[in-house]
Amino acid sequence: MNNIYLPQLVTIEDIYDEAPDVKSYRLVFKDKAVREAFDFKAGQFGLYSAFGLGESTFCIASSPTRKGYIQCTFRRTGRVTGGLDELSIGGTMGFRGPYGNWFPLDEWKGKNIVFIAGGIGLPPVRSVIWNCLDRREDFGNITIVYGAKTVADLVYKNELEHWGGRPDVKLIQTVDPGGETPEWKGKTGFVPTVLEEAAPKAENSIAVTCGPPIMIKFVLATLKKLGWNDEQVYTTLENKMKCGVGKCGRCNVGDVYICKEGPVYTAAGVKKMYNDF
C-alpha cells in the first residue's frame, strides 16, 4: 500500500545554533536508495516529524546543488518544534517531501538577483541563494539585504560572514533600531528602509523576499516605488499545513491550496488572491 502520509527516516548528522531558540539540522536519509534518489528544487518544503509529537512544516533550507543531505532551520515554538529541539546528533526524525512548487531559476538566467529577508524568513531564501551561488555564472549581480530584530536574532551568522566576504555578492545587513550592539558594523533600520537606501535597479532583475507579513508588505511598496513591477518579485507563502498534499483543508488562501499550487508566487500572483492572509 502506498501511504502518502508515511515519512522517510532521517538521521540528524549535525546541529547548528543559529539564534536564540533557532537551530539548523543537517539531515541524512537512513535509506541509501532514498538518499541517492532524493532530489528537490529551491523553494520546496517538507513535513518534519518528532515521533510521538507530530509533524511541522518547514522549507528545505539547503540548496538542491548540495547533494546527500538536506538542512532545515526552525524556531522552538510549540509541541513539535519543542520535541525536535530536544533531539541530538545521531537522533532520528521523519521527513515527508519535497512538496510544492519552486523558484524558477532557469527563467532567471542572466538577470541580477536581489534577496530581501527578515528574521527567520532567511531559511527559504538561503536555499535559493546557495543555488544561485553554486551556478554563479548564470546570474548577474547578487545582492542580499537581510535584517533581524537584534544582532542575536540574525541566523546563519557564519554564512553571512562568508557572503559578506565574497567579491561577487553585495551583502547589506541591518538590525531594527535598538537591536544593535556596540560592536555592530551593519546598518540600523528596518529592512524596507535599508532596501530603499540601497535602491536596487529594477532593470533585468528579480527580487526574492521572505519575512514577517508586515515586512513583506512594506518591501513590496518600496520595490514599487523603486520602479519594480509585480512580475519581478517572488515570495513564498507560509501557511499552517498538516498534510502538505492538498487534502487536510488548512493552507488554502481563498481557492488556492498553498501546499499544491504554491508556496512560491510572484507579487502579481499574490495580489490576484482572495484576502485570506
Binding site: 501511504n3 502518502i4 515519512p7 527516516l9 515521533f51 515554538t77 487534502k247 487536510c248 483543508g249 490576484k272
Partner: protein
C-alpha cells in the same frame, strides 16, 4: 434509449442478502435507531434497520473517511526510532439506505483524496464500497436538494438505486458497473420485476425561490466579496462548534497527530474542522482566519466555489444536515439567498 433493466428486491429477501454479504466477510451499514436518533451503523438483520426516517443524522462518509484512523506506528529507542505504515485491507462494505443527496457527495470526497496524491486510505475503502440508495418518500423543512440541482430521482454516486414499492419491497436499478455486478452476484435476491410494480410517490422538496446558484457562483468568483459586510452580518451568531462540518457528507478536513508515549504509539488521521480558531493558527501567533465569520466564509467558499470550480463537483448536496444540527439556527440557505441578490 435502451430501457434500464429493473429488478425486484423483496423486503423478505433482505436478510438473505445481508447474510450473504456477511458470509463473504463484508459489512452491512444501514440507518439504525440508536438512542432515539437514526444513524448509520453496522447491522446483522433487516429488522434492526430503521424504516421510517428522512436521513441518518451522520453521513456515511465515515465509512470511507473514518473519524479517526491509524496511519502509522512509531517506536523510539536508544538504537533508533522507527515508523511503519499500517496496511489497510478493507472488507466489502454495503451502505444501504443512503439518500440520493448524500450519494451525490461521493464525487467530491473522491476528488479531494485523489487529486495528484492518492490517499489510499480513502481509495481502498471506496473500491470495496457498494452504495445502495433508497429514494426519498419523505422530506422535512431542512431538505433542499432540489435547490442545488439534485433530487430524489438523482442516481449519481449510487451503485444501486432503489425505489420503494407500495407493497414495501424495492425496485432496484443498477446504476454503476459495480452495482450491476453486485446484483448479478446476488441474483437469487434480485428477482425479475413484475411489469406492473407500483412505486411509492417520491417527495420533492420545494425549491427555494430566492436562491440563484449562477449568481452565487459569479459573486464568489470575484475576490472582492471577501470584503462584503454580508459575511460578518449573517454569520455573527456562529459559535464555531464545527457540528456542521462533522455531519456534512463533503467536509474533508483532517488533522494528523501522534498519540502514545515517548517510546511507542500511533500516528492518526482525525477529523478536524475549518470552524475552529486553532485550525489555521500559525506558530508565530498570526492567524489568517482569526474571526469566526472568516472561518464560516471559508466553509461556504469550499462548498460553493472551490468544489465546483476546482473539482467540478457538488460541494453542497442539499441534505440539510448542517441546518438540522446547528445550535444557533445558522441556515446555509439563508446565506445562499443573501448572496443571490
Amino acid at each position: 434509449m435502451a430501457k434500464t433493466v429493473e429488478k425486484l428486491l423483496k423486503k423478505e429477501n433482505l436478510d438473505k442478502l445481508i447474510t450473504s454479504v456477511k458470509a463473504d466477510g463484508g459489512r452491512w451499514i444501514a440507518p439504525v435507531t440508536d438512542a432515539r436518533q437514526v444513524v448509520f451503523k453496522a447491522v446483522t438483520k433487516h429488522e434492526d434497520m430503521a424504516s421510517d426516517y428522512i436521513l441518518a443524522r451522520n453521513s456515511y462518509k465515515e465509512v470511507l473517511f473514518p473519524q479517526t484512523e491509524v496511519i502509522a506506528e512509531y517506536s523510539v529507542s536508544r538504537e533508533g526510532s522507527e515508523m511503519h505504515g499500517v496496511e489497510l485491507t478493507p472488507a466489502e462494505t454495503v451502505v444501504f439506505g443512503a439518500r440520493p443527496c448524500e450519494a451525490a457527495s461521493l464525487k467530491s470526497l473522491r476528488s479531494v483524496f485523489t487529486w495528484d496524491f492518492i490517499d489510499e486510505f480513502y481509495t481502498k475503502r471506496e473500491e470495496k464500497l457498494i452504495i445502495i440508495t433508497v429514494a426519498c418518500t419523505k422530506a422535512d423543512e431542512a431538505c433542499f436538494c432540489t435547490t442545488v440541482n439534485i433530487s430524489p430521482e438523482s442516481t449519481e454516486g449510487s451503485d444501486i438505486y432503489l425505489k420503494e414499492t407500495v407493497s414495501g419491497d424495492y425496485l432496484a436499478h443498477g446504476a454503476t458497473e459495480k452495482g450491476k455486478a453486485f446484483m448479478a452476484k446476488h441474483g437469487n435476491t434480485f428477482e425479475n420485476a413484475p411489469k406492473d410494480a407500483q412505486t411509492k410517490k417520491l417527495v420533492m422538496p420545494e425549491e427555494i425561490n430566492g436562491i440563484d446558484l449562477d449568481k452565487i457562483s459569479e459573486r464568489l468568483k470575484k475576490t472582492g466579496h471577501y470584503e462584503d459586510h454580508v459575511w460578518a452580518e449573517l454569520t455573527r451568531k456562529c459559535i464555531g462548534c464545527g457540528a456542521c462540518t462533522y455531519v456534512c457528507p463533503t467536509c474533508h478536513c483532517f488533522d494528523i497527530t501522534d498519540e502514545g508515549t515517548a517510546i511507542e504509539g500511533e500516528r492518526r488521521k482525525n477529523w478536524d474542522s475549518c470552524q475552529f480558531d486553532a485550525f489555521t493558527l500559525h506558530a508565530s501567533g498570526h492567524n489568517p482566519r482569526d474571526t469566526q465569520f472568516k472561518r464560516w466564509r471559508n466553509r461556504f467558499m469550499c462548498k460553493m466555489h472551490i468544489y465546483p470550480e476546482k473539482f467540478n463537483s457538488t460541494g453542497c448536496v442539499g441534505c440539510g444536515r448542517c441546518v438540522r444540527v446547528c445550535p444557533v439556527r445558522l441556515d446555509i440557505t439563508e446565506v445562499m439567498e443573501a448572496l443571490s441578490k
